[in-house]
């Protein structure tokens, strides 16, 4: 079942990509997913795959948004719940079953993010990205995680810089360790 979904997903992504290449305008593909009712997105090249959430092994003494580690094709990846990280869960009943994980990868990190539904890809013009979201009032530098805002008709999509979330958190964790 996992493979089926994945294949579909890959096909879907591929088709979108082809469409994009026909025109010679600067375009980006983003992957959009919902967190706490809002739409968030990442650049498509940051996302490696989407899989059904595997069993997660909880690691003791980790921040609550780090759900643990899971086996994705023989790789052991940390699984993050961004709704918890961003404080988007107000009540216990909002804790939806998160069925899928997005595997994200950079040179340094490889990890997974919990989402409820299979995300969509969107083709957007680079000019539609507002890279200077000075409208955002963040708590304790939260806005550092925001790469930009995308406005599409009546949608507002928050473009995330996923890797700065963890790198920042590692710094903080290190600080705690020192003071402990």
């Amino acid at each position: 079942m996992t493979d089926n979904l994945l294949n579909k997903k890959e096909l879907f992504l591929k088709k979108d990509k082809d469409n994009g290449q026909d025109e010679h305008v600067d375009r980006s593909q983003i992957v959009v997913f919902k967190l706490g009712g809002e739409e968030y997105a990442m650049m498509i090249d940051e996302i490696k795959e989407v899989v059904v959430t595997p069993n997660i092994a909880k690691i003791p003494l980790m921040p609550s948004y780090i759900k643990g580690v899971a086996n994705v094709r023989g790789n052991i990846l940390a699984v993050l719940d961004l709704e918890e990280k961003f404080g988007l869960i107000k009540e216990e009943k909002d804790k939806n079953k998160k069925n899928y994980i997005l595997v994200v990868e950079s040179d340094k990190y490889k990890m997974a993010i919990l989402v409820q539904e299979v995300p969509n890809t969107l083709n957007i013009l680079d000019s539609q990205i507002d890279n200077s979201p000075n409208v955002v009032i963040g708590e304790e530098g939260d806005k550092d995680f925001i790469k930009g805002l995308v406005r599409l008709e009546n949608r507002l999509i928050i473009l995330l810089d996923i890797f700065s979330i963890v790198s920042k958190d590692i710094l903080q964790a290190g600080g705690e360790e020192l003071s402990a």
């Binding site: 595997p54 069993n55 997660i56 092994a57 909880k58 690691i59 003791p60 003494l61 980790m62 780090i66 643990g68 580690v69 899971a70 086996n71 094709r73 023989g74 790789n75 052991i76 990846l77 940390a78 340094k108 990190y109 490889k110 990890m111 963890v166 958190d169 590692i170 964790a173 360790e177 402990a180």
Partner: protein, 618 residues
């Protein structure tokens, strides 16, 4: 035996080719700028290594030539010789010749180099002039003497070298003539004709590109391969589990996968010689600095061990060796006073024992003074005076592995760099190794390092806790027992029970895994929670682990099986998780976390951080 020699030869050849290529590059840099200090230093370094390797392998031609180059570049480095076009051309030719010699290692072709050697010696002796500086002779004392009297002795030396060269290089009985006769005839071989002859040969030898039969593979590629094989092994387990009772059908799959697994692990194995070889230089340097005479003996150099383990212990081994020389082996005067041979002996030996590789660092020095250690233990407050006095000498010396203990007051350039034996111990702990020490006053000290031969696969005990599976490496487990609640007693903030009449602390793993933060362990009764909830007639499943001579019973929900696991380290952002050293994937596809026993026990029993847990240091 033959294949071993061939293998070594291949390794040497591959390394030498690399070094030669680097030399080529440096010489070309140097051609453009004769004063390039960096290149001079680099050439000096490379020729030095090449010389040592070649001498070790018995390739006298390469050794002689690179030794001469090394000497010349040492003179250039020290400003006693400056390069002009003529000398440079000679050196360049020497470098080419070196390449040919390296080539001849595999081709068995005879290469003439004596003429060039003579020429280089002329350059060298001119540079040194008559006022040869009295410098501490490095190695090859004999050879240096040979240089002093130039040609006459030179021939003699060549004749010494020739039979050896013949043995090594002419294995396939190459009948090409040689310019120096193997028989010890004390005849002076005229210099000039040889050079001419060589020059003639040189013109005909066109530049060639050669490849060695040995390929170098980045370790991460091997790691990747090992990961894949690990997955295969897991898949194999899964299939077998799904089709119980039809085992024979999978016998072949089983065999192939495990063969594959061991082959890949075998690829990662290297000979300890790779590491041991480097100690010739280290021992020499440290001994020179301490003005002591030390002879290094290497044993069991062909024992194989996982390359990553070798890397991890290399610093530790350096530390142990330095310590042995600067603190163990006495000065020459002291030694002769105690009627010991003037030159101390340091032995590095490797051997196999079951699944382990044992490396011994043995010195014949003065041994560790237990009384001094005892004094220090008391002074540092590591033990109360009374118990320190009762502790046997054998046990008290083990305190050198405690953090914060460094047995020498004076910080020396060599051994006192703020790191102590505790760092060595930590490095060994991290790979599931052990270090033991035995010492005899006046006779010497032996450090015994017990290392796993492969880091990839270890035996582990699987257990269940909070509906999740965990593993403990078998190297830490002592026993598995069932106890009733009444066997466990509250003592201060913790729990204590006994095993084979020894006291051990008992910890409900649940209590520490459910903590919100590490600080909470200091909360009163935080380690009593599960105990208090346990009914009196419940049987407790306890895994007894032993680390640092300390027995600790870990209470788990359920004991599962014993299994060979492939432990993978966790990557960021969970790489420095508390209590967990890594993870493995089980046959059912689930991730199973591997408990970091040294880390966990250090966290819990470290009296610096958790002052209220002194009871654990009983």
């Amino acid at each position: 035996m033959k294949s071993r020699e061939d293998e070594l030869k291949q390794i040497f050849y591959a390394e030498a080719l690399d070094q030669f290529e680097e030399l080529n590059r440096l010489f070309i840099v140097l051609e453009k700028n004769h004063d390039d200090k960096q290149s001079v230093n680099a050439i000096f370094r490379i020729t030095h290594t090449l010389k040592a390797n070649a001498a070790g392998m018995g390739f006298d031609g390469i050794a002689t030539l690179s030794h001469l180059l090394e000497d010349i570049f040492s003179e250039i480095k020290n400003g006693r010789l400056s390069l002009n076009q003529d000398t440079f051309n000679d050196l360049f030719r020497a470098n080419d010749k070196l390449g040919e010699l390296i080539e001849s290692v595999t081709s068995e072709k005879q290469v003439r180099y004596k003429g060039l050697v003579a020429k280089l010696k002329v350059i060298l002796s001119e540079a040194r002039g008559e006022e040869r500086v009295q410098q501490a002779s490095r190695d090859y004392v004999g050879e240096r003497e040979a240089q002093e009297t130039k040609e006459t002795t030179e021939t003699k030396k060549e004749e010494n070298a020739a039979p050896k060269a013949e043995k090594q290089e002419a294995e396939t009985a190459n009948t090409q003539e040689k310019e120096s006769t193997p028989e010890p005839v004390n005849k002076l071989i005229p210099k000039e004709p040889i050079i001419e002859e060589e020059a003639a040969v040189e013109e005909t030898s066109a530049p060639k590109i050669s490849f060695s039969d040995l390929i170098q593979v980045p370790v991460h590629k091997l790691d990747n391969l090992l990961n894949l094989v690990g997955e295969l092994a897991i898949e194999k387990d899964r299939i077998a589990a799904n089709h119980k009772g039809r085992g024979s059908e999978y016998a072949r799959l089983y065999r192939v996968t495990s063969d594959l697994q061991y082959s890949v692990m075998g690829v990662r194995l290297v000979q300890v010689n790779v590491l041991f070889q480097k100690f010739h230089r280290i021992v020499r340097d440290v001994a020179a600095l301490e003005s002591k005479k030390v002879n290094l003996v290497l044993e069991g150099t062909d024992i194989e061990i996982d390359r990553n383990i070798l890397q991890i212990i290399s610093d530790s081994l350096i530390h142990l060796v330095r310590n042995a020389i600067s603190h163990g082996i006495e000065t020459t005067e002291e030694r002769s006073k105690n009627s010991k041979p003037e030159t101390g002996t340091l032995t590095l030996s490797a051997s196999n024992e079951k699944d382990h590789v044992i490396i011994n660092v043995i010195d014949d020095g003065k041994g560790i003074d237990a009384a001094a250690i005892r004094k220090k233990v008391i002074a540092k407050g590591l033990l109360p005076e009374r118990s320190a006095m009762q502790t046997s000498d054998h046990d008290i010396v083990k305190f050198i592995f405690e953090p914060g203990f460094s047995s020498v007051e004076k910080v020396t350039q060599i051994s006192g760099r703020g790191v102590g034996m505790d760092v060595v111990k930590k490095a060994l702990d991290s790979i599931g190794g052990k270090i033991e020490l035995s010492t005899k006053k006046g006779k010497g000290t032996t450090f015994r390092l017990l290392l796993p031969s492969s880091m990839a696969v270890k035996n582990a005990l699987l257990f269940e806790l909070n509906n999740a599976e965990f593993a403990i490496p078998l190297s830490f487990t002592e026993a598995v027992v069932s106890l009733y609640k009444k066997d466990v007693h509250k003592v201060s903030g913790g729990l204590v029970s006994s095993y084979l009449e020894q006291n051990m602390s008992v910890i409900f793993l649940k209590d520490i895994f459910n903590l919100k933060s590490l600080e909470d362990v200091r909360e009163p009764h935080s380690l009593h929670k599960s105990f208090d909830q346990t009914k009196n007639d419940t049987k407790l499943n306890i895994i007894i682990v032993k680390f640092n001579e300390r027995l600790v019973g870990l209470v788990v929900d359920k004991l599962l099986q014993q299994k060979e696991i492939i432990e993978k380290t966790l990557s960021q952002p969970v790489d420095n998780a508390y209590f967990i050293s890594g993870a493995t994937i089980l046959g059912n596809g689930n991730v199973c976390l591997v408990l970091d026993i040294p880390g966990t026990l250090n966290l819990l029993f470290n009296p610096v951080k958790f002052g209220s847990y002194d009871y654990a240091t009983i």
